[in-house]
């Protein structure tokens, strides 16, 4: 199936690339070209007249400026030749430096006070990756991020975002090229990128409104899904925002795993719609679908004896996400106060074979067929109640469903609904710094509540970041 989707996608990209290729000129076309040339000449004449008018105006201004001697306004004859001399503070970069890409860095650190041992953290009823959980206790550096971006040439632009972990390891978070110069709303992207599914997935962790990912993201996507592959997005030429996207990737990340195959391991499609209601409201809603075919995917899950047991799963995984976000700011001016409401619903169907404890770490491995429909959602609101200060609340809940574990049922079937309540306050002294306090009551295991308290800082330096919606 993935090979079939790959072929038309490749053709589409190829067709788009070759579109401006040479055409054979017929007599008709020559006439057309002549007509266009004539029009061009006319338009340039009009332009020239306009420029002359501006020159006269510039001269008049220069005379006026000279009269008002206290004003050091440069004689705007330069206006006749639009490009201004380079600002004195930023000397025109020359040579190699002129082509330096935009560079920015994000530094983060935190303090965590957790009432439960984070090494024993588990979301009961769900297979989880090592990234699941609230992280380390005490003071620690969080992930630092280094981002580099620039246009490559007339066709391509590229982004590299490297994450430096506090344990001194380096991870390529995103490294992709994309083609912003194709016509008709088509934007292909290739390399490693955060998948366009859901709302939060494409955003980097430092722009999230809470220090950690919603439980649904942790349970269904191992935190956040990055794809190594190709994405094709298309924006419709309509006044209401409509965006359709499709991706194929190697699927090495949860819910897939590294399968050592030539074909693609995961594919997804998504659709977003959005718009404004009056000047004060903006919204976006989306539907996404992700499918992966893990083979021998190793994860951990809380078993009935209270151990974090290894599990190996082979089969198919289908995830659907519905997401929406609504932002309110009086007259669209978010500086004083604003409100943001966002929620996402996840539903996953997995079936295949599940092996309990494949490495016999706890006893005897046990394999059987496995089939599950599981769900989860979160709803969060963030309110800026005065300039620079925001308050946020979030509720997370997961539904383990009624998985058919077969002979693994005695080992794994817990039937518990994990949930979590979170509140945060953050202070944003400038566009480039933010400080946050967060509390959470995490009830993801039967009979245990983790009381979590976090302090966090986020500092951004370098090139001005984009204001994502």
């Amino acid at each position: 199936m993935y090979k079939h989707t790959l072929v038309p996608a490749a053709f589409a990209v190829a067709a788009l690339l070759s579109a401006p290729a040479a055409w054979a000129a017929t007599d008709n076309e020559l006439a057309e070209i002549r007509e266009q040339m004539r029009q061009l000449r006319e338009s340039y004449e009009a332009r020239l007249t306009a420029l002359e008018a501006r020159l006269r105006e510039a001269e008049a201004n220069a005379a006026r400026a000279a009269a008002a001697a206290n004003v050091p306004a440069p004689a705007p004859t330069a206006a006749a030749a639009p490009p201004l001399p380079a600002p004195t503070a930023v000397p025109a970069a020359s040579g190699i430096a002129a082509f330096n890409p935009a560079i920015s860095a994000v530094l983060q650190g935190r303090y965590a006070n957790l009432s439960q041992d984070p090494d024993r953290y588990a979301i009961a009823g769900f297979q989880q990756t090592p990234d699941t959980g609230p992280g380390k206790r005490g003071l620690s550096l969080s992930e630092s991020e280094l981002a580099i971006s620039a246009n490559v040439d007339d066709k391509f632009a590229a982004n590299l975002i490297v994450s430096l972990s506090p344990d001194n390891s380096v991870e390529v978070e995103e490294a992709y090229g994309f083609m912003p110069s194709l016509p008709n709303g088509v934007v292909p992207k290739f390399g490693r990128f955060f998948s366009g599914i859901g709302y939060l997935n494409e955003q980097h962790q430092h722009v999230w409104d809470f220090i950690d990912a919603p439980l649904a993201y942790q349970a269904f996507l191992g935190g956040q899904l990055a794809q190594d592959g190709v994405q094709l997005k298309w924006v419709a030429p309509t006044e209401t925002f409509v965006e359709l996207g499709a991706e194929i990737g190697n699927g090495v990340n949860f819910p897939g795993n590294d399968r050592d195959r030539n074909g693609a391991g995961a594919a997804s499609i998504f659709a977003h719609v959005g718009g404004d209601v009056g000047a004060s409201n903006s919204w976006r809603a989306g539907l996404s679908y992700l499918t992966a075919r893990p083979r021998g995917r190793i994860s951990t899950q809380l078993d009935t004896a209270g151990n974090l047991a290894d599990l190996a799963f082979s089969g198919s995984s289908h995830l659907a996400i519905a997401d929406f976000v609504w932002k309110y700011a009086p007259n669209g001016n978010a500086q004083e106060t604003n409100f943001k409401l966002q929620g996402e619903y996840f539903h996953r169907r997995e079936h295949g074979d599940l092996t309990y404890d494949p490495n016999a770490a706890l006893g005897v491995p046990n394999s059987d067929a496995y089939s599950a429909r599981q769900g989860g959602w979160y709803l969060q609101g963030v309110w800026q109640f005065m300039p620079l200060w925001r308050f946020g609340a979030r509720y997370d809940r997961l539904d383990p469903g009624h998985p058919e574990y077969g002979s693994n049922a005695d080992l794994l079937d817990i039937g518990f609904h994990p949930d979590r309540v979170t509140a945060m306050v953050d202070y944003t002294p400038s566009e480039f710094s933010r400080f946050r306090i967060q509390f959470a009551n995490d009830r993801t295991r039967p009979g245990v509540t983790d009381h979590e308290f976090f302090l966090q800082y986020i500092l951004t330096l370098g090139a001005h970041g984009a204001h994502r919606f």
Binding site: P8, A53, E57, V187, I269
Partner: protein, 301 residues
């Protein structure tokens, strides 16, 4: 299979969309350029203005509505000088519309056409919200509007050659009218020359330069940095020594800092529309300056 279906749909919608359009779609980032494009383009252009006068044009997000509008735009008219740096590049990138990418005829910036003021000598974020290319609020001087009008009319003519003469004649009419207006405004505003003022945000250097207002203080310790109590107290002491007539702020800004200083330093509060749509009277470019001068004169009494 799904991908193939999507692509088919994409091309079908594309065919429909290209057939249906006739006018030039102009995407203006701020109201002043939207108004100017309408003045010059008349009925041949369809203008969409991305922000209103009550928004700070620097703090705007790349909203879905903006991406959708940029998708079918023929021309983006922006201020430039990094005013819209947080959102226009992202909007253009996500819209998949190569016509309006920077460097293309479909992308027009106003700031490079005017002599920029307040170009920082030190580029450092410790200095607050600094704009390396100078203060981007160029629209408060009507002479700048005139400087932008000519090239903008020429750009419209370039993109829509069939109507080049139409744009040219509208530009001529605008130019004539605007020069007469400037002369009138300068006469009306003569009493404002040398009047000391306090500004809430460093948004008015062009207006001050044009009318000869004397800015004695800003309520922001550094551009874009919220005033602190300590700073305001210090400012109050300065104003006792060096009194000002009024405190000026733009329509989109909070009234608190102005109110605080106005009460204590005996200043008049003047709220300026700042751009088209900033108050009930400033509905057109001309009304914007009529109203601005009227309000300043009242404040100077």
């Amino acid at each position: 299979m799904k991908t193939r279906w999507l692509i088919t749909l994409a091309f079908a919608a594309l065919a429909v969309s290209t057939a249906a359009r006739a006018d030039l779609n102009v995407f203006a980032t701020v109201p002043e350029w939207g108004a100017l494009a309408s003045e010059l383009g008349g009925e041949k252009v369809k203008v969409y203005t991305a922000t209103n006068a009550l928004q700070d044009p620097h703090h705007v997000e790349a909203k879905p509505s903006l991406i959708a509008r940029a998708r079918s735009a023929d021309l983006i008219v922006a201020t430039g000088a990094e005013l819209e740096i947080g959102w226009v590049p992202l909007v253009v990138q996500q819209a998949g519309n190569p016509k309006v990418r920077p460097g293309q005829p479909g992308y027009f910036e106003a700031a490079p056409l005017v002599p920029m003021l307040e170009r920082p000598t030190r580029l450092d974020r410790a200095e607050g919200d600094v704009h390396p290319l100078g203060n981007p609020h160029i629209q408060t001087d009507p002479r700048n509007i005139l400087r932008v009008a000519g090239p903008l009319a020429a750009r419209l003519a370039e993109l829509d050659a069939a109507n080049a003469a139409y744009y040219q004649s509208r530009y001529k009419a605008f130019d004539e009218k605007w020069r007469a207006n400037i002369a009138r405004w300068e006469k009306e505003a003569a009493p404002l020359r040398g009047v000391p003022v306090v500004v809430q945000h460093k948004g008015f250097p062009y207006l001050e330069e044009w009318l000869g207002l004397k800015e004695v203080a800003s309520l922001e310790p550094k551009p874009g940095v919220e005033p602190t109590v300590a700073y305001m107290t210090e400012l109050l002491a300065t104003l006792k020594q060096q009194p000002a007539k009024m405190v000026i702020r733009a329509a989109y800004q909070s009234d608190r800092p102005s109110q605080w200083i106005a009460e204590r330093a005996n200043l008049k509060q003047v709220v300026l529309p700042f751009t088209v749509g900033g108050d009930d009277k400033a509905t057109t470019l001309q009304a914007l300056f009529d109203d601005t001068i009227e309000r300043l004169l009242k404040g100077a009494q």
